[in-house]
């Protein structure tokens, strides 16, 4: 939905509420009503900003609102320090509103606790000290001392890494706390009854990931409510509880985050999906005939396809799953769908834990080094191909025959790909299906600071980003899901 038409209204309303908040702060002895009023103003600004998609403003007011919750509950005083903090926050909001009015992008602000900064300074002090000792040891030329200092340096770096990561962490409740209200309101509009269960909202994840998954997650829940769940009458006729059930589960699994959105509704009607895809000319009969059940379910991600009988104002025009898929893929994430007619649908989403730092495996393909995010990998194996047959199409992994693709053929289509007798392969898994990707060599794992590629390369859609290698050269980080998973 295009919200830009509401920008003027949003700006006016927010400015008015910022002014009212500032007036409360000017009072020397605010009473209970003033404190409630300040809380309400902040809460409303947060809600409006979140609706408009201005996460930077929403995040800032969320922090201010939290502080005011403690004041309302008598846990802290609206003292000089807190007044100053709120005053600064309101000034930042005013600044952001002016930027929006001028069409400038908002720059996310990160508030850092002073004790966290103290820890970082302590780390910095240790690093300076270690550096000095290293210089002394280099002059003296003692290997034992250098080894000990190198170990000390590694420990310091690991601590620094952990502390910086901690600064970026935000509880998932930041985006889930408003969901019961949003879903409740939508259910009312649609005449449906629903219970929403959220598990794992206490988890803390990288703020950038959190902000990026907010929209797709909300869209999936809206879709589940709008298209997945039946009306109470329909549910009764099907022998179900008239109240539908939506479940959002968030958990950390090894190197990634897994988010599951489930409903106990009617399930995806694959026959209807196929018929619509054919009718709209989105897929050929020949291609359709080759799809398995999972492939048929993924038809719902084709642009402009919806199983809903009528276009819905709740979920937008069509299901919008193509957008959800695109948003997830832009994060380097991927998702899977399971659905059973009459019993419901589940979307399983997988994301990296952080968009900035990634644990990666270094590999070599065609004499060039690349990195592969560990969270995308299920394992590695060696291809048993003693005859050096370039047509070798399968590899054994966990006693299963897994289809094999040579990454060299994909990345360097003009280079003749000759599979050596014992080439290593990366294994990925999606929806219970394994795929093997041959590479020339596998090296060690590395913690990499990931940066996005220049936007002119975005259409390539096969890189998570770029990092700097040990030798100071740019290192491309492959998105092997996008390279290997052929959805349709």
């Amino acid at each position: 939905m295009d919200l830009s038409q509401y920008l003027t209204l949003f700006l006016d309303e927010c400015r008015q509420r910022v002014r009212q908040s500032q007036q409360v702060l000017l009072k020397s002895q605010p009473d209970r009503q003033d404190i409630d009023d300040l809380f309400r103003q902040l809460h409303t600004i947060k809600g409006m900003a979140a609706t408009m998609g201005y996460e930077t403003i929403a995040a800032l007011t969320h922090e201010l609102e939290n502080a005011m919750v403690a004041v309302r509950e008598g846990e802290r005083l609206l003292d000089r320090n807190l007044r100053l903090t709120i005053k600064e926050g309101l000034e930042q909001i005013k600044y952001d509103l002016n930027a929006l009015e001028k069409g400038k992008p908002l720059v996310p602000a990160l508030r850092v606790r002073s004790d966290v900064l103290d820890d970082l300074l302590e780390n910095l002090g240790e690093l300076y000290s270690t550096n000095q000792q290293l210089q002394n040891a280099i002059q003296q030329g003692t290997i034992d001392k250098l080894t000990a200092l190198s170990h000390h340096l590694s420990t310091n770096l690991a601590q620094l890494h952990e502390r910086i990561m901690a600064m970026r962490l935000t509880p998932i409740s930041f985006i889930t706390e408003r969901l019961p209200e949003t879903i409740g309101d939508l259910a009312k509009k649609l005449g449906k009854e629903v219970d929403l269960t959220i598990d794992g909202e206490e988890l803390e994840i990288d703020r950038a990931v959190l902000e990026a998954i907010d929209n797709p997650l909300t869209q999936l829940l809206r879709n589940a409510l709008d298209h997945g769940l039946e009306s109470p009458e329909e549910r009764c006729r099907a022998g179900k509880n008239p109240r539908g059930h939506l479940t959002l589960t968030i958990k950390r699994v090894e190197h990634h985050l897994e988010v599951t959105v489930s409903d106990d509704g009617r399930g995806i009607d694959v026959e209807k999906l196929q018929a619509r895809a054919l009718k709209k000319g989105l897929i050929s009969e020949e291609k359709l005939a080759k799809l398995d059940h999972r492939g048929q379910l993924f038809l719902c991600c084709l642009p402009g396809l919806s199983t809903a009988d009528q276009l819905s104002a709740i979920s937008g025009r069509g299901v919008g799953m193509d957008l959800v898929k695109a948003q997830l893929e832009s994060l380097g994430g991927h998702f899977d769908i399971t659905s059973e007619k009459g019993h419901g649908t589940t979307f399983i989403l997988e994301f990296p834990l952080s968009l900035a730092l990634v644990q990666a495996l270094l590999v070599e393909i065609n004499h060039q080094q690349f990195a592969v995010p560990m969270w995308q990998l299920t394992g590695t194996t060696i291809i048993e191909n003693p005859t050096g047959d370039s047509r070798c199409s399968h590899v054994l992994f966990r006693e299963k025959s897994v289809p094999l693709t040579d990454l060299k053929k994909i990345l360097f289509p003009n280079v003749p790909a000759i599979l050596p007798p014992c080439a290593p392969a990366l294994i990925i898994e999606n929806g219970g299906q394994y795929k093997a990707l041959a590479v020339d060599r596998i090296f060690q794992t590395r913690e990499l600071v990931l940066k996005p590629l220049c936007n002119i390369l975005t259409p390539l859609n096969c890189y998570c980003g770029v990092a700097i290698s040990d030798n100071g050269m740019p290192l491309l980080v492959l998105d092997i899901f996008k390279l290997a998973v052929k959805v349709l």
Binding site: Q368, L411, C454, I456, I468
Partner: protein, 151 residues
């Protein structure tokens, strides 16, 4: 008129607003990391000025012969929202700056001022904008993806 950077290529002279250019550095071909599947004028990535720059062969992008990558060449790094983009050119002789009407030298000084040009030449070049160039590159990247059978 804004200050301009002029680029004299075989097929035409092009101009780019000078304020878009951040630095001019030397690119050693060895430091270039290729980007598989990238469209032709995108030569690769290089680490410079504290960031990873995407290097584009500007003459090639403008339908001129590509830059010879066996020797080093000047690299124009961009600023602002295009700060991770850099354009490779053949040599500094291709580049000229025009500092606006106020900076135009008197006629007799023209012969010694090698970084200025005659006003009459201003009618003979094609104005480039980074928005146009990047959108052209994005389109090429898109067709490069669509041409391939990898996804």
């Amino acid at each position: 008129m804004d200050e301009l950077l002029l680029l004299h290529l075989e097929n035409a002279t092009y101009s780019l607003p000078l304020e878009e250019v951040s630095h001019i550095m030397e690119l050693e071909p060895d430091s270039l990391v290729p980007i598989p599947l990238a469209p032709n004028p995108v030569l690769g990535l290089v680490y410079g000025q504290g960031r990873v720059l995407t290097v584009v062969d500007l003459p090639w992008l403008l339908n001129n012969p590509p830059v010879d990558l066996t020797v080093s060449h000047p690299l124009l790094t961009m600023g602002g929202k295009y700060r991770d983009l850099a354009f490779l050119v053949d040599n500094m002789g291709q580049i000229q700056t025009w500092l606006g009407p106020a900076a135009m030298p008197a006629e007799e000084e023209d012969t010694v001022a090698d970084t200025t040009i005659d006003l009459s030449a201003l009618t003979g070049f094609i104005n480039l904008t980074l928005d146009k160039l990047t959108s052209e590159l994005q389109e090429r990247a898109l067709s490069s993806r669509e041409d391939g059978s990898w996804i």
